[in-house]
C-alpha cells in the first residue's frame, strides 16, 4: 500500500516539476537567452534584407566558390536535426528506457533545426519566388523539375523528414497537452491546450492507437534519418570535384549528422536541466548514455576521415592527392586541424567514465564538437572548391558580414524558438516518464 502511495505522490510531483516553468514567472536567465536570440534574429533580418534586395553578390562567393557558408550552415543544421528523430524513433524501437527524459527536447530541436536549415537554400536562390520552381509542377513553358538531380531529391527528403518529424512530435505531445488543459494555466492558455489536445480522452483504446501510431511513425522515421543525410551527401558525391566525389559520403554524412545532433542535444539538455531545475529528470545517466553514443559516432567519423585520406592516396589520382595535401597544409589548414582535434581527439576522452559523467566537461565538449562539425562542412565545401583543376581559377574565400549575419540569425532564431517552446509546452514527456516509473517499479 505504501509503495502504491509512493507512486501516486511521485506522479503528481513529476507533473508539478515539469509544468512549473509553464505556470511560474519567467526567469531572468530565460529573458537573457531570449534577448540574445532576438539580437541574433535582427542580424539575420539584416542579412536576408541585403541578400534579397542587393542580391547574392553581397556574399563572398565567386565563379570558383559557388557554395560557401550558406551550404555549410544548411548541412550543419540538417545534421543537427538528425539526432532528434534518432533519439525518438530508433531508441523507441529498441525500447531504450533512457530516452524518455530527453526525447521531447530532441524532437523539438529537430523541428527548429530544419526550419533554420531551410532558410539557406531558399535565400540562396536570390529571389524567394524561385523556391516555387523546386516543387514538382510544370512552369508556363511546361518545364518540369529534374527528377535525376540530388538537389531535387533533397527537396523531397527534407520536406518528408520535416512533415514526419512534425507529426511524430505533435502526436507525442497530445497526452501531455490533455493534462495541461485541466492544469493551473490561465484560462486562455488552457483553451489553447484544449484545442491542441484534439479531444484526447485517455481511454484505453486511445492509448492503444497512440502506441500503434508512435511505433509505426518511428519505423518510418528510422529509414528517413538514414535517407535524408545520404541524399544531402549526394549533392556533393555525385559531382566530379575532388574531395566530394566519394562513395563513402552517405554513411560518413549520416554518422556525422548523428554525431553533431547528439552534441547539440547534449548542449541543450545541460542548459535546460540547469535553468529549469530538471536535474531529477534529466540525469547524469542520460548525459552518460548520450556521451557513449557521441563516442561511438565520433569514432565512426574518425574512421571515415582516415578512409577518405586513404582512398585519396590509394586511388593514385593526383587531383585527389593534391586536394588532401592542400587541406592539411594549404591556406585553410588551421581550420582543418582544429576540426580534426574537435571531432577525433575530443570524443576519445569519453572512454573515461569520470569524463562522461562530468557535466561541465561534457558541456564544453559538446560545444567543441558542434564547432568541429561546422568546420567539417566548411572544410568539405571550401577547401574542395577553392583550388580546382585549373590554377588560374584558384581563389581564397572569405565570408562577408552579410553571410556571418545570416549564420548568427539562424542561431538566434533557433534559440528564440526553443525558449518560446520552453515557456509554452512541457519539455519533458511526463506521461512517458510516469509510465517508465511504473515499469521500473514492477
Amino acid at each position: 500500500m505504501a509503495k502504491g502511495k509512493n507512486i501516486e505522490s511521485r506522479n503528481v510531483q513529476i507533473t508539478d516539476e515539469v509544468c512549473r516553468p509553464l505556470y511560474g514567472r519567467t526567469s531572468k536567465s530565460w529573458f537573457l537567452g531570449f534577448s540574445f536570440g532576438i539580437v541574433g534574429i535582427l542580424f539575420g533580418v539584416y542579412g536576408i534584407y541585403c541578400t534579397l534586395f542587393k542580391g547574392i553578390g553581397t556574399w563572398g562567393l565567386d565563379r570558383t566558390i559557388g557554395w560557401g557558408w550558406a551550404i555549410t550552415n544548411f548541412v550543419w543544421w540538417i545534421g543537427i536535426g538528425h539526432a532528434g528523430t534518432f533519439i525518438s524513433a530508433i531508441l523507441l524501437l529498441f525500447r531504450q528506457k533512457w530516452r524518455t527524459g530527453i526525447n521531447r527536447a530532441a524532437e523539438t530541436m529537430t523541428i527548429f533545426a530544419i526550419i533554420c536549415a531551410s532558410i539557406f537554400p531558399i535565400i540562396h536562390m536570390g529571389r524567394i519566388a524561385f523556391a516555387f520552381y523546386t516543387i514538382p509542377y510544370p512552369n508556363t513553358r511546361n518545364l518540369w523539375v529534374n527528377f535525376n538531380s540530388p538537389l531535387l531529391w533533397d527537396v523531397f527528403a527534407i520536406l518528408t523528414y520535416f512533415i514526419v518529424s512534425l507529426i511524430f512530435w505533435y502526436i507525442g505531445m497530445i497526452p501531455d497537452l490533455a493534462v495541461l488543459r485541466e492544469g493551473k494555466a490561465r484560462k486562455f492558455k488552457r483553451k489553447i491546450y484544449s484545442l491542441l489536445s484534439l479531444g484526447w480522452q485517455g481511454t484505453i483504446f486511445d492509448w492503444k492507437r497512440y502506441d500503434k501510431i508512435m511505433i509505426l511513425l518511428a519505423s518510418i522515421a528510422t529509414p528517413l534519418v538514414i535517407s535524408v543525410h545520404s541524399i544531402v551527401s549526394m549533392d556533393f558525391a555525385t559531382s566530379i570535384i575532388p574531395g566530394w566525389h566519394s562513395t563513402i559520403f552517405p554513411p560518413y554524412f549520416v554518422a556525422g549528422a548523428i554525431f553533431s545532433g547528439f552534441a547539440m542535444v547534449q548542449t541543450l539538455m545541460i542548459i535546460t536541466r540547469k535553468v529549469l531545475n530538471l536535474e531529477r529528470h534529466i540525469t547524469v545517466k542520460h548525459i552518460n548514455s548520450m556521451n557513449k553514443i557521441i563516442l561511438l559516432m565520433g569514432s565512426i567519423v574518425a574512421f571515415a576521415y582516415f578512409i577518405e585520406i586513404f582512398f585519396a592516396f590509394f586511388s593514385g589520382n593526383e587531383f585527389e592527392e593534391f586536394m588532401f595535401l592542400n587541406r592539411a597544409t594549404g591556406p585553410y589548414a588551421i581550420w582543418f586541424w582544429i576540426m580534426m582535434f574537435c571531432n577525433i581527439i575530443i570524443p576519445q576522452f569519453l572512454w573515461f567514465k569520470k569524463i562522461r559523467t562530468n557535466i561541465a566537461v561534457t558541456f564544453v565538449f559538446s560545444i567543441l564538437i558542434n564547432f568541429g562539425m561546422w568546420l567539417e562542412r566548411f572544410t568539405i565545401v571550401t577547401t574542395s572548391l577553392h583550388r580546382d583543376f585549373m590554377p588560374s581559377n584558384w581563389t581564397i574565400y572569405k565570408p562577408t558580414f552579410v553571410e556571418v549575419s545570416l549564420f548568427i540569425g539562424s542561431i538566434g532564431l533557433f534559440i528564440t524558438l526553443y525558449l518560446v517552446f520552453l515557456r509554452l509546452f512541457p519539455i519533458i514527456s511526463f506521461s512517458e516518464i510516469k509510465h517508465q516509473n511504473l515499469e521500473n517499479e514492477e
Binding site: 501516486e8 506522479n11 527528377f147 512533415i163 485517455g202 481511454t203 501510431i213 518510418i220 512517458e432
Partner: protein, 168 residues
Amino acid sequence: MKNKILILHSGNEKEFIEGIEFIENLGFKINQFYSPIPINRFQNNRLHKKTIIPAVGLIFGILGAIGGFTLQYWVNTVAYPLNFGGKPLLALPSFIPVIFECALLSSAVAMSIVFFAKRKKKNPVVIDNLLSKDEFVAVLKRNSEMEKNVDVWAKQESFKLNVIVYDD
C-alpha cells in the same frame, strides 16, 4: 440534462486493476477505461478493439510509392522528355529516392489523418479532472443493484467507487 455515472478510480495501477477484478467478479460490466499513462496489460485483455491505422499506413505507403513512380515516369517520358547526357528516360535507379520519400510521406500523413479524425464527444469534466491528477478511471454500466452497494464498496481501501452526477 442531468446524468449519473458510476466511476471507479484509483491513483495506483495495481489497486485499480484489483478493483476492476473485484467489480467484474461480481458480474458487473465496465463501459470504458481511462488512464493517464499507457497500460499494456489492459490493452491486451480488455476492450479488444482493432485499429485500422497499420492497414491505412500500408495501403497509403504503397499508393505513395506508385504515385511517386508514376509522376516521374510520366514527366520524364511523356510530358517533357529531356536528354540528360544520354541517360535513359526511364532511369529507374534515379527514381528510387523520390519513390521512397513519397511512400513514407503518404503513409505517415494518412495514418495521422486517421488518428486525428477519430474524435469522439468530450469526456465528462470529472473524468478529465481525475486523469489530470494521474488517477486511473473506469466508468461502470449503471445498475440499480450496484448503486445500492456503492456505500459498502466505497469502504474498500484500495479504490474509490463514486456515483457522480454531471450535466450531459
